[in-house]
């Protein structure tokens, strides 16, 4: 089973995702954004970084890359599509996920581990986790502040597509535990016809080994790989 990791000019987390998924046994290939055919891949990851320098709006230019047609096709076919950080932003710009990501509430770039609570196991990112589980995963973004209109947010909630929320170490979802001002403390959402498209702001690939500070990201990436295994 092969997983594609999309590479845009300005992307920088492609090797980290390759390494982390490789550690979990996946066969990973980094695919340049102008190369187009993903039919042989069971799933695709859009990694973090600064595609096109984050100029204009983060993710705005990347969405027109040829590879995005393929990503949309995989999404439609029900194969797992994961956007991490900048990848999340690209998926929103490409209309594969609702909402948008804007500058953090305090206008600071934030690089630090945060706590997130698992809200549903009905997603390709959390199927092996448990609801209520608290994970410690590094955040690394300037535009991590998730926004959408109320109706969109209500719909996400109603359909169980809020995947992770920022919380304190004990799992309480509070304002103080919200690092960037995201609406309803949202850290990850699912979308797509089958809920198989997930965007997550923190970086699970940065939390796969204790020596790096946490291995809590494993359960998320393992979920993703399991979903890819079973994908149509």
């Amino acid at each position: 089973m092969r997983i594609a990791v999309a590479l845009f000019p300005g992307t920088n987390c492609e090797h980290d995702v390759e390494y982390a998924l490789g550690l979990l046994g996946a066969d990973v290939e980094i695919v340049w954004h102008r190369e187009g055919d993903l039919s042989d891949f069971a799933g695709v990851v859009l990694p973090g970084g600064f595609a096109h320098g984050d100029y204009l709006r983060t993710g705005a230019i990347a969405r027109f890359s040829p590879i995005m047609d393929e990503v949309a096709r995989l999404a439609k076919e029900g194969r797992p599509v994961l956007g991490i950080c900048n990848g999340f932003q690209i998926l929103c710009e490409a209309d594969l996920l609702p909402g948008a990501l804007i500058a953090n509430r305090d206008l600071d770039f934030i690089c630090k581990p945060v706590h997130v609570r698992v809200e549903t196991t009905d997603s390709v990112l959390t199927r092996r986790a448990e609801v209520g589980m608290v994970l410690r995963i590094p955040l690394n973004s300037y535009e991590g502040n998730f926004v959408a209109d109320e109706a969109t947010l209500d719909a996400l909630e109603a359909r169980g597509r809020v995947v992770l929320r920022y919380c304190d170490p004990d799992g309480n979802v509070t304002d103080e535990a919200n690092p960037n001002g995201s609406a309803r403390n949202i850290a990850a959402i699912a979308g797509g016809v089958h809920g198989n498209v997930v965007g997550i702001m923190p970086h699970p690939e940065r939390a796969v080994e204790e020596i790096l500070g946490s291995a809590d990201g494993r359960v998320l990436l393992e979920s993703f790989l399991e979903a890819a295994e079973e994908a149509p």
Binding site: P9, G10, N12, C13, H15, D16, Y19, A20, W32, G49, F50, H52, G53, D54, Y55, R105, D106, D108, F109, I110, C111, K112, P138, N140, Y142, H203, E205, R206, V208, E209, I211, L212
Partner: protein, 721 residues
């Protein structure tokens, strides 16, 4: 009568005569522009060169030493490490965000110029006190600029340091260090070989950025008038640089590059002449081929432009098409602008005319060098004799409260949490500890780095101050388990035309050299920044060292400050004197005193401390060197980060705040046998409780200590965090 052109370009009459002699005729305007920048202090090191030879530079593991784009050392298993440090002081004062950002961009180019992938950055900063709004603006602008560029270009910033003193209010210091990794066979040089080889300019378009700028700016003092000389500010484009890095690394992978040089000060003229001179060749450059951002630039402007994110690659003619294709894939511009020739001349053509023809090597090799006069500052004796007067009794809890709230001692999280410090999954020990430690993929090795400076002590005694920072940096890497391997240094000084500044400079070199010799570490690169003087006031003499250490193998779980647990024992290893207060944090913060003569290092003791620390790093969960604020502050940091108090046996407050060098704390299981027999070692106390208790001398609630320490910087810069 207007001043002659050479003087307006900052050249002396003697230097001008030298050019005339070299060329055997009067120089053309473009030629004079080239000499003026290449012979500026910034590019030619004319005041410092005669002294730099004092530094030890050799060791079996040194592959490239000073004078190259970056120092390169061999760490075994086929891996080389490239390192380099640079200042961007004046540009950061003019425009803090862009000044710092372009500083990061510039140093990264030095690293990938030698064939390495840049994988880590450190920043060493100096500002005036944060109660001044202007200093807050500079400080937060610089931090944002480093974050803005470093994060987006995809190179993590793993640490750094910062100090605040009045003397930096009008002249902040922004020093950035970078590290890169490369396989042994990938080393690239700048020596253009082979007549007929093609020079290709890669990257951003050329505009009027910093014409004569960075270099002229860094080669003269700052005052109102220089506002006019101010070149147009350079804007960093981390996206362009990221593409440039990937494109260059792909070119090296495919073996398409004969030689390469980054464009920095003096732009094309510097890069072209250095490539040619290094290969013993010449070059013909066609300026019409250069991709311009502004159409109507003069030849001199095109030659001197310091537009960022550009590289000059020398390529065999048959490989040109493939090189252009790689550039096209990465969406960067690539233009053939020159050809390598055998005649050793750098010839520049513009619209069919020859605008310059000069011996390529003369720009660098014939640069003047000055042995400027030196004089010990007349008031230094008086300053040194006026050491701090210590009170008999001190409430240790109260003193600690003050120290933890000092921005130089407080948590730097406000800074480093704005920096991506985790990219590449190599960061085993990140910022917030002593040295940072990154693992080398596919090996058991770890690279430890610490940057250290101590402006006040170096002012009080440049030689001792400089030696102390080398020892401190060595201990900072040793507590991660590393053995010191190489040093890069950034020498930030005032106006070298003042004999007192030259004296400080030479004393500093003596101190650095002696300490490096004592520790057996070579200096593999450095940078000299003179003219850090505004309105006649010089900065404190401020050497900064970047120390690279190697762990081989890396400890299973390298020590970190947050690993203390209740019941663990606390030891102090190293000399206790109780009399090292001149230039200390205690004197400065608690006594408001900044005079006296710092104590000297002890080379033998320093070497032993380093080797014990490196060994103990494999055994103890926490090691922490004692630096600013002494034992008390070092212990408080461990307790705050571990979230647990400590009970310390103490009967003399001096031993808690004194800053004698070569000491570190060990926190570990009480049964651990430290096996340190050639250094004083004392059991200080035990971890536990929710207070920091120092016997009868005082105590402090841990939560309060933590709040003060964490809030000191955010509170001052008015950040919500």
């Amino acid at each position: 009568m207007t001043e002659p052109l050479h003087r307006r370009l900052g050249m002396t009459d003697d230097e001008y005569r030298r050019v005339v002699e070299l060329l055997g005729r009067e120089p053309e305007a473009a030629e004079l522009a080239m000499y003026s920048v290449m012979w500026s202090e910034h590019c030619s090191y004319k005041s410092s060169r005669p002294w730099l030879g004092r530094l030890p530079t050799e060791a079996p593991w040194v592959v490239l030493g000073p004078g190259e784009n970056a120092g390169v050392v061999d760490i075994g298993d086929g891996w080389l490490v490239a390192l380099r440090i640079e200042s961007h002081n004046h540009p950061s004062f003019v425009e803090p965000y862009q000044g710092a950002a372009t500083g990061v961009g510039g140093i990264l180019r030095d690293i990938f110029t030698v064939g390495a992938r840049p994988v880590a950055l450190w920043d060493a900063l100096r500002f005036g006190p944060l109660d001044e709004p202007r200093n807050r603006y500079l400080f937060s602008g610089v931090v944002r600029g480093i974050a803005g560029y470093g994060n987006a270009v995809g190179v993590p910033t793993l640490g750094g340091e910062v100090e605040f003193h009045d003397r930096f209010s009008k002249n902040p210091l922004v020093n950035v260090m970078a590290l890169g990794l490369l396989q042994r066979d990938r080393l690239v040089t700048r020596a253009a070989a082979g007549a007929g080889n093609v020079a290709i300019l890669l990257g951003a378009a050329t505009g009027r950025d910093g014409i004569g700028g960075a270099s002229i700016l860094a080669s003269a003092s700052f005052d109102e008038a220089s506002a006019e000389k101010r070149p147009s500010v350079q804007i960093g484009d981390p996206f362009e640089e990221k593409k440039l890095i990937e494109a260059c690394l792909e070119l090296y992978d495919r073996g398409l590059v004969v030689a390469i040089q980054d464009l920095g000060a003096a732009g094309i003229s510097c890069a072209a002449s250095e490539c040619a001179a290094a290969g013993g060749m010449g070059m013909v450059v066609e300026l019409d081929a250069v991709h311009l951002r502004e159409p109507d630039m003069t030849p001199a402007e095109v030659l001197m432009s310091e537009s960022q994110e550009r590289m000059l690659a020398i390529v065999a003619p048959e490989d040109v098409d493939e090189v252009l294709a790689v550039a096209d894939k990465w969406e960067i511009d690539a233009r053939r602008i020159g050809v390598v020739t055998t005649d050793r001349d750098l010839v520049v053509r513009h619209r069919g005319e020859e605008v310059a023809r000069i011996p390529a090597a003369s720009l660098s090799e014939d640069a003047p060098a000055y042995r400027r006069p030196r004089r010990r500052p007349a008031d230094l004796d008086e300053i040194q004799d006026d050491g701090p007067v210590l009170p008999d009794a001190v409430d240790v809890g109260e003193a600690l409260r003050l120290l933890l709230d000092d921005p130089a001692l407080a948590s730097k999280a406000w800074i480093y949490e704005q920096y991506d410090h985790m990219l590449y999954l190599g960061t085993v020990v990140g910022p917030g500890n002593d040295g940072s430690l990154l693992r080398v993929e596919g090996t058991r090795k770890g690279l430890a780095v610490s940057t250290d400076g101590d402006a006040l002590r170096c002012f009080l005694d440049p030689r001792r101050g400089a030696a102390r920072i080398v020892h401190e940096a060595a201990l900072n890497v040793a507590v991660t388990g590393a053995r010191p391997l190489a040093v890069v240094d950034n020498l930030n000084f005032g106006n070298p035309e003042k004999p007192e500044v030259m004296w400080q400079f030479v004393e500093t070199l003596e101190g650095l050299a002696a300490a490096c010799e004592e520790l057996g570490v070579p200096v593999v690169g450095g940078n000299v920044s003179f003219y850090n003087e505004t309105d006649g006031v010089d900065i404190y003499p401020t050497p900064v060292v970047g120390m690279l250490g190697l762990c081989d193998p890396m400890p299973e779980l390298p020590p970190r400050l947050d690993r203390a647990r209740p019941g663990m024992a606390i030891w102090l290893v190293g000399p206790e004197r109780g009399d090292d207060f001149a230039g200390s944090a205690f004197a400065r913060v608690v006594l408001d005193h900044r005079r006296g003569r710092p104590r000297d290092v002890d080379g033998d003791v320093g070497r032993r401390a380093v080797s014990h620390a490196a060994r103990l790093a494999h055994l103890a969960p926490v090691l922490h060197d004692c630096s600013a604020g002494g034992v008390a502050v070092a212990l408080a940091e461990i307790c705050i980060l571990s979230g647990v108090g400590a009970d310390v046996v103490a009967d003399d407050w001096r031993l808690l705040f004194d800053e004698a060098p070569h000491r570190f704390l060990v926190v570990a299981d009480p049964d651990l046998d430290l096996e340190v027999d050639d250094l004083p070692t004392r059991r200080l106390g035990t971890v536990g409780g929710d207070r920091l208790v120092f016997g009868d001398l005082g105590s402090l609630d841990l939560a309060e200590a933590a709040t003060r320490w964490r809030a000191a910087i955010p509170r001052r810069v008015g950040s919500a965090r």
